[in-house]
Structure formats: structure tokens, C-alpha cells
């Protein structure tokens, strides 16, 4: 296992017994990374860093938070007012959710654009989707915890979706709630699960990385690495590039934390939960809005729930739906356009989800929901019809302007 030799004898002794140093050497320093990765490849490591920030701020918040319907709202305000830098912890956590999702959405769309889901990376793609699903569950349960009006009513609306399941729906909902409405048992279990799931996420991220380092990174050209001339060691080339990207992300994230911490929040959630007063407009957090729009676009409750979950589940089949062998949209003139139309469709759905479901928003929601699902069969058809542009010989060829083109493509990768 430990192939690397270390100068320091203590490190060598430990590494012979537990190969942490040679694994780090292999996977974080020498790891051969395609030399042509652009800045869109920053978002994977940024997502990992956001997860760590969320874990740390969350653990310290949990030390001062009380999961009880009578005390939760007040305990959050106590964190804001009386805990030393409690306001910073809470705003970091609250805005961290927003930027975590921003980063992850960019990461997913990057994978979509450059065909990172195609063979041999299907399992890597699945693990990413599972991470995304668990993240959504975690975020949803976290939003319940401050026990404001939208915490309560958002939880009520979304958990009620399960009552659409035929026959056992009502029983399932009662079981989820731990009672006959969203109440103290619901808050307690949501807190327990909200604390648990990030560690599940951490394990899933680890598997995601194992899968990544098995199949290796995709790259903007979407062609396979042919040899060492196509790669660079991860350190220092990509460590520094990722660090620079982190600096940019932190400026956005902390800019909001310090100067507009409630920008992405709904004012209604600063009113304590009241089961007797329904807020006029119940909206989820912004990162759920496209799916919320799809849910409301289907006039049937069960149909809406199926469409909403289907909108995510369908991504699991993407590696087989997309019939093109070419990965990168750079060489797929028609797919490139369809991709951007899909991105715009998602943004418009998000806007529709933020509006009350009345007037023009209802037909608009339906049109854009249909367009969302039309993307997938279209992807299959385009793959069959499209004439992709010619692919370059190797990654090194276009990067080095052809000077290394004569290099043999014998695989010389290190073990």
C-alpha cells in the first residue's frame, strides 16, 4: 500500500502501519489532474469546504440551541444576542446554506455541460446526486429549527406531500410527524436528523472522492487522459487554483454575512411559529423554488409530488438517456444550446416558484415544467442526430499548441 518512501523515520514507521501519509501523497499531492481544467472545476472543492464550514458552525450552534416548541425561537434569539459572536455563527450557518447550494448547483451544471456523467463516471454522478438529495433533506430540516412561521408552515406543507401516497399516505404522515400535526416530536426528530445527516454527507463525499480518484477527473475537452503530458500534479497547481477560487467565494459569502445577512431569508420567519395563523404566502428557501414550481404546476396532488421527485430522480438515468458518445458540450453545437435553454428554464421555474400561484404564473409554470422534462427525451434525440465537431487528439495537443503532438500515447501514469 505505502509505495512512497519518507525521509522522516517516524512518519515512515507510522505510514508502514497506517498509510495516511502515502495516501495523502498519492491523492492530494501527486494525484495526476488534467492540465486543462478551467475555473468551473473549482466548485467541487468549494462544496467540500462549505460542508466543513456548515459542520463547524452547526456544531457550535447546537451547543446553545434548544429543540422545544416553546423555547426554540427564543434560543435562536439568545444565540443572536447573548452568545459571544453567536450572531456570526448563525449568520454563517444561515447564509452558508445558500452559498453551499449555489456552489453545488454550479458544480452539477458543470457536470451537465461537460458530460461528466458519462461512462466511466456513472457511479460518481450517482453519488453526487445522492449527496444533493441528502443535502436537500438536511437543509429542509434545518429550516424547521428556528421555529418561525415559515419553519412551521413550510414543514407542514412539505411533510403533507407524503399524504398523497395512496392508501398509506395519512399513516406515513402521522408517522413522520410523531403525532397528528407538526409539533414538538417533529421538531425533536428534525433536530436529531439535521445533526446526523451532515456526517452521512461527509461519508458520501468521501465515497464521491474515491469514485473520482478511480475514474479520474473529466476535463473541458471531455477526452481521456492519454499520458503524463496531459496531467499536472494536484499540488501545487490545483491547490493554489482552488485556494484562489475560495478567496472569491468567501468574498461573496462573507459580504452577505456581514452586510446583508437576511437577504436570502423571508421576514415572516422572524415571527414565532403560530399553528393558528397561516401566513399569506408560504415559500420555501430559494434553492427549492424550481421544484416547488413543478409541484404546483400539476393540478393533481399525487401527480405533483411524483413530478417534483421525478424532476430529480430522472438525473440518475442521464448517463443512458444521453445517447451521444461525445462528453464536452464544446464539441456539441446543438447540445450546447439546449443546455443553456435548460439552465434558463430552471431559473425561470425558480422565479415562478417564488410567486403566488395565480394569474399568468399558473400557465407559465406548466409551460416551463413541460420544457424541463422535455430536455431529457430531447437529449436522446440530439445525441442521435447531432454531428459533433472533430475532437482534439489529446489534452496536451491544444494546450501546448501541438508541440508535443509527436509524444507517444503510451500510458506512463504512476501507480
Amino acid at each position: 500500500m505505502s509505495s512512497h518512501k519518507f525521509e522522516n523515520k517516524v512518519i515512515q514507521w507510522l505510514d508502514d502501519r497506517l498509510p495516511i501519509f502515502s495516501v495523502l501523497q498519492h491523492d492530494a499531492i501527486d494525484y495526476p489532474t488534467p492540465r486543462n481544467l478551467n475555473y468551473w472545476w473549482n466548485f467541487g472543492s468549494l462544496a467540500g469546504i462549505m460542508l466543513v464550514i456548515m459542520l463547524l458552525s452547526g456544531i457550535f450552534l447546537a451547543m446553545a440551541y434548544t429543540p422545544n416548541v416553546n423555547l426554540a425561537f427564543g434560543s435562536v434569539e439568545r444565540i443572536m444576542r447573548d452568545v459571544n459572536y453567536g450572531w456570526l455563527l448563525r449568520y454563517l450557518h444561515m447564509n452558508g446554506a445558500t452559498w453551499f447550494f449555489v456552489v453545488v448547483y454550479i458544480h452539477i451544471f458543470r457536470g451537465l455541460y461537460y458530460g461528466s456523467y458519462k461512462a466511466p463516471r456513472e457511479v460518481l454522478w450517482w453519488l453526487g446526486l445522492i449527496i444533493y438529495l441528502v443535502m436537500m433533506g438536511t437543509a429542509f430540516m434545518g429550516y424547521c429549527l428556528p421555529w418561525g412561521q415559515l419553519s412551521f408552515w413550510g414543514t407542514t406543507v412539505i411533510t403533507n406531500l407524503f399524504s398523497a401516497v395512496p392508501l398509506v399516505g395519512d399513516a406515513v404522515t402521522t408517522w413522520l410527524w410523531g403525532g397528528f400535526s407538526v409539533d414538538n416530536p417533529t421538531l425533536n426528530r428534525f433536530f436529531a436528523l439535521h445533526y446526523l445527516l451532515p456526517f452521512v454527507l461527509f461519508a458520501l463525499v468521501f465515497l464521491h472522492l474515491v469514485a473520482l480518484h478511480t475514474t479520474k477527473s473529466n476535463n473541458p475537452l471531455g477526452i481521456d487522459v492519454k499520458g503524463p503530458q496531459d496531467t499536472l500534479p494536484f499540488h501545487p497547481y490545483y491547490t493554489i487554483k482552488d485556494l484562489f477560487g475560495l478567496g472569491i467565494l468567501l468574498m461573496f459569502y462573507l459580504g452577505f454575512v456581514f452586510y446583508n445577512p437576511n437577504y436570502f431569508a423571508e421576514p415572516t420567519n422572524y415571527i414565532p411559529a403560530n399553528p393558528l395563523v397561516t401566513p399569506p404566502h408560504i415559500v420555501p428557501e430559494w434553492y427549492f423554488l424550481p421544484f416547488y414550481a413543478i409541484l404546483r404546476s400539476v393540478p393533481d396532488k399525487l401527480g405533483g409530488v411524483i413530478a417534483m421527485f421525478g424532476a430529480i430522480v430522472i438525473f440518475f438515468f442521464l448517463p443512458w438517456i444521453d445517447s451521444s458518445k461525445v462528453r464536452s458540450a464544446t464539441f456539441r453545437p446543438i447540445y450546447k444550446q439546449i443546455f443553456w435553454i435548460f439552465v434558463i428554464d430552471c431559473l425561470v421555474l425558480g422565479y415562478i416558484g417564488s410567486q403566488p400561484p395565480e394569474g399568468i404564473m399558473v400557465p407559465l409554470g406548466r409551460v416551463f415544467s413541460v420544457a424541463y422534462f422535455a430536455f431529457f427525451p430531447l437529449l436522446w434525440v440530439i445525441g442521435k442526430l447531432e454531428r459533433p465537431k472533430p475532437l482534439p487528439q489529446s489534452i496536451a495537443a491544444p494546450v501546448l499548441k501541438g508541440s508535443h503532438a509527436s509524444h507517444s500515447d503510451k500510458p506512463k501514469e504512476k501507480a
Binding site: 443572536m80 485556494l243 478567496g247 468574498m251 462573507l254 456581514f258
Partner: protein, 251 residues
């Protein structure tokens, strides 16, 4: 790189535009002193706002999340805070005899509410419940601008508008029917610092006080934020320079 930054910016703007689009007709913006990167509360104004709150608002509204000790931030001495707190009585106990008893409030107590419970508040206010004001500027769209518009928005109802008995017409309030009578007029208070107490001045001061009640951390947040952002700016610039240097032999 440029293309990347531009598209990131465009995506960021689209994300940022969502809540903005969702907002209804914008309220007139007031030039609050705490706005902006360098914005801080005006402590003299907070003192005046506290006076308005104690003399006017607190007759009906509670402020349950703020403690008397917190107003030390405005520059009150410990003795002054003790005196302010001691004007109100709170129930404490049980004592050694097992009885509950009343005692003057202490700086560690939260602002004493005017009514013992919501039902008592409703009975005294014609069936309406005066909301707690601790988080008011955070709990309404428009925040302090909304509070300002509401407190200055009392007018005669337009023709054809039937106003039920005991209700008042307010331009800013959703539905325009509000149970609260116009709370302030010119010279409703006499300021200790000699500021002329016009209606607008009173409303501004009390809104500033309520914004502080909702976000007492704002001053620290802004000044710490400035240092953090400056540091990040320098750090990121250095990281970029280092990136260029490391990658120089590759390109």
C-alpha cells in the same frame, strides 16, 4: 478567466434578482444612519427612540427579547439603567414562605411587558393583539422603511372605503385597516436632549431604536465585516499572484 467571471457574475445577479422581483411596490427609502458598509447606529438617536418607546409604545407593546442591561450600549451609566428598570414591577418567587411576590425590575430583566398575557392585551385593546416589537424591523418586508411608512401612514380613508368602528386607515398597512390608533403627533414627547420633537423626528427615532432592538449586533457586524473584507481582498489578490507564478511554466 474573463468569460468565467462574467458568467459567474450574471448567474449571481440572476440569483440576487429573485427576492427583489418578489417584492411588491417598493417603500420610500429613508436615509438611515446604519446603512452601508460604514453605517453605524447614532447613539443619541437610539436614546431618543428609547424615550419614545418608553413613553408611547410600551403602553401597549412588549419588547420581550431586549433586557434593560442592553441599553447600556447607548451610554447610560449602570445607576441610570437600574433606575430605568426599577420603574417597572415584575413577579418573582417563590420566597421562603412559598409565596410569589412583586419586586422592582433589575437590569438583567427583559423589558417588562404591559400586559401579563395575550388575552389581557386583547381585552384592553378592543380585541386586537399589539405585537411584540423586538424583531419588528426584521419581521416585515421593507424592515425599518415599512415601520416608518406605517407610523407616518395614517390618513383619512378614501371615499367608498368603509372603515369598521375602532379601526384606522393606514396607507402602509396590508389591507389598510389597522387597529392601532395614530400613535404619535408633533410634540408627543419632550426630548431630554432638546431635539425638536416633530412627528417625523419621533417616528425616525423610534424606528432606529426598534431596528437596534432587532439587530443589536449591527455596529459590531459592520466594523468586523470591514476588516474581514479588507483582509480577504488582500489575501485573494496574493493568492491570484501566486497562482499566476506557479502556473507560469505550464502556459
Amino acid at each position: 478567466m474573463r468569460k468565467f467571471l462574467l458568467s459567474t457574475l450574471a448567474a449571481g445577479l440572476m440569483v440576487a434578482a429573485f427576492p427583489a422581483l418578489a417584492e411588491e411596490a417598493a417603500l420610500p427609502h429613508q436615509p438611515w444612519p446604519w446603512l452601508g458598509v460604514f453605517g453605524q447606529y447614532d447613539k443619541a438617536q437610539l436614546k431618543r427612540g428609547l424615550q419614545v418607546f418608553r413613553e408611547v409604545c410600551s403602553n401597549c407593546h412588549s419588547l420581550k427579547l431586549v433586557a434593560y442591561r442592553n441599553i447600556g450600549y447607548f451610554g447610560f451609566t449602570d445607576d441610570e439603567i437600574k433606575d430605568i428598570a426599577a420603574e417597572k414591577q415584575v413577579q418573582d418567587g417563590p420566597n421562603d414562605q412559598g409565596d410569589m411576590f412583586m419586586r422592582p425590575a433589575r437590569p438583567s430583566d427583559r423589558f417588562v411587558p404591559p400586559f401579563p398575557n395575550d388575552q389581557a392585551a386583547r381585552v384592553a385593546n378592543n380585541g386586537a393583539l399589539p405585537p411584540d416589537l423586538s424583531l419588528m424591523t426584521k419581521a416585515r418586508p421593507g424592515g425599518p422603511d415599512y415601520v416608518f411608512a406605517l407610523l407616518t401612514g395614517f390618513t383619512d380613508p378614501p371615499k367608498n372605503f368603509t372603515l369598521p368602528d375602532g379601526m384606522y386607515y393606514n396607507e402602509a398597512f396590508p389591507g389598510h385597516q389597522i387597529s392601532m390608533p395614530p400613535p404619535v403627533a408633533d410634540d408627543a414627547v419632550t426630548y431630554a436632549d432638546g431635539t425638536k420633537a416633530t412627528k417625523e423626528q419621533i417616528v425616525k427615532d423610534v424606528t432606529a431604536f426598534l431596528n437596534w432592538s432587532a439587530e443589536p449586533e449591527l455596529d459590531v457586524r459592520h466594523s468586523l465585516g470591514l476588516k474581514v473584507m479588507l483582509f480577504l481582498f488582500v489575501l485573494t489578490a496574493l493568492l491570484y499572484a501566486l497562482k499566476r507564478k506557479i502556473w507560469a511554466d505550464v502556459h
